[in-house]
Amino acid sequence: MYGRILRKSIKVRRKRIILAVIAVIMGASLISALAGVYLNIEEKVGKELSSYGANIIVKPKGDDIPLEIGGVNYSSNQQKNFLREDELYKIKKIFWKYNILGFSPYLSTVVKVGPENESVVLTGTWFDKEIDIPDEAFKSARVGVKTIAPWWTVDGEWINDEENKPEAILGSAVAKQLKNKVGDTVSINYNGKMIELKVVGILHTGGEEENQIFTNLSAVQDLTGLQEKVSEIKVSAAITPEDDFAKKDITQMTKEEYIRWYCTPYIRSIALQIEEVITDSDALPIEQIASAQGNFIKKIKLMMMLITLVAVAASALGVMTAMTTSILERRKEIGVIKAIGAQTNQTIALFMAEIGAIGVTGGIIGYGVGIGLAQVIGNAVFNSTVAINVIVLPVTIIIAIGITMIGSMIPIRNALKIDPVIVLRGE
């Protein structure tokens, strides 16, 4: 009987019900979209944030606290210890290899440039290089400054890592100082040893790199006689936000705790794993970036929860409006049902059937719309698709029913207050 009443009463009040369902769909779709994104967010935001810079810096062990001017180590001429270029690939072989989003080696030295013999830092690095990773399913990995500093822009051309030509990219400040432009040649004087580099691009980074000249790693190695050596490596890793456990002293951990810690992509565990593969190295997390990443994820999650809450509230409000009007229109009908003997729970059951129908319909459609919405969010915000998670469907339906119930609570209470004596009085 409920089925029959439900079907017919919905049919005659189609518009109100559709309105209520739409209200539920709006809330449910937003929730399912956000839930979909939420379940993906650590990875997505991790990746996104890692592209705002390296978060681990690897230096030779025992390197003195360097004298840094303009971001470059001026004591590096006296530097005794170096890292080995032939070990770099091992960074992509650690336990959390898939979390290594990119890295780049650097070898810097101070040189004299131009007719006025200005002191400038010359840095050799990789720009965008595919390196072989032996014995891994992915076979090779893309590395170089472009993988850890994607926001760098170059007027002109990037240097091709493979061609190994005598070329340079000038930081925009250096270019201004030397009054050089793309196509010019700069003369580099390293302790009397001269090389000529052709300017192929002007670099804009918004940072201290604009005061440097960049060229191939091998060019600087040849110039300084430091073959196969690098002075530091910057690594960009996708990490999980640090919790209290992450900060625990590893020397105090039990074996089980240590394994758990090692197998969690905390920035410190990844750094430790890099130290393990790079001989005589110190891998230091860049604290600000790491904690900013963690905090940012936390904040985004909080914001998403707030949006969800607002969506639920708005959606429930929409349902309430539709249900209130609906019940106002049904006053007489409810009066009749009570007069012919419906008890409170039977009257409620009548509405519950309707709530269930609205909630389930709104939930299922909302889930479908939400999948689409999640992809739109994924594309717009993270430039990638959001993985579809089936768990979101039942969750969305339950929340949709919840929304309908919350929205219907006051209207149903009003319906239960309807006095048949008053509504059935002849008019």
Partner: protein, 219 residues
């Protein structure tokens, strides 16, 4: 069967609609209630129907002091013992004649389509089962509402101006139905303005300003 004791109903300090009413209606009796407009007939019937509560006094139906029952108990008592017929029929507009009758079964216990059809046959609407109220005449709608009132075999039928909206011919069909129910032993209370109906029952109760002014045995 139905006894009221010192029944009073006030809507506010100024309007006392029923004033110390003592009525006793016997089992199987047909009682008509008449009186000028505003004399409290509907108010009285609503209290007897367990739809409304008196301000003072009590109503005992079939040995139960219904004025002491809770809201839900009153609803349960009503569907068990009382069939209601209204002047405006009050059918659910989107349900068919048959479904309107079955709805009363549903709230009472279980739906039984065969039984509901029989009830509609009894009021002469066997050929109108699947019509919605809008596609039925006033008289036919009132017959559906009588079938609905009867479906759970209540001992008592209470009707508030059941022929008030009907022409003579249709009014007569309805009254013949009440006669049939009366002979079957139902206790019937009808509020009416129609003097002709007034002469039909076993007794006539005249109300004036909330008091019984005249009571006579007509049969």
């Amino acid at each position: 069967m139905i006894t009221t004791m010192n029944l009073s109903k006030c809507y506010n300090e100024k309007t006392q609609v029923l004033d110390d009413l003592n009525i006793a209606i016997k089992k199987g009796e047909w009682a008509n209630i008449m009186g000028p407009s505003g004399s409290g007939k509907t108010t009285l019937l609503n209290i007897l129907s367990c739809l409304d509560r008196p301000t003072d006094g009590s109503v005992i139906i079939n040995g139960t002091e219904v004025t002491k029952l809770s809201q839900d108990e009153m609803a349960a008592f009503r569907r068990e013992n009382i069939g209601l017929v209204f002047q405006q029929y009050h059918l659910i507009p989107y349900l068919t004649a048959l479904e309107n009758v079955m709805l009363a079964q549903h709230f009472h216990s279980m739906v039984d389509e065969k039984e509901a059809k029989d009830a509609l046959e009894l009021v002469g609407l066997g050929h109108r089962l699947d019509h919605i109220p809008a596609h039925l005449s006033g008289g036919e709608q009132q017959r559906v509402s009588i079938a609905r009132a009867l479906i759970n075999q209540p001992a008592i039928i209470l009707a508030d101006e059941p022929t008030g909206n009907l022409d003579r011919a249709n009014g007569k069909i309805i009254l013949d139905l009440f006669k049939k129910l009366h002979t079957k032993g139902h206790t019937i209370v009808i509020v009416t303005h129609d003097p002709e109906i007034g002469t039909m029952g076993d007794r006539l109760i005249r109300l004036m300003d909330g008091r019984t002014v005249d009571e006579k045995i007509t049969a």
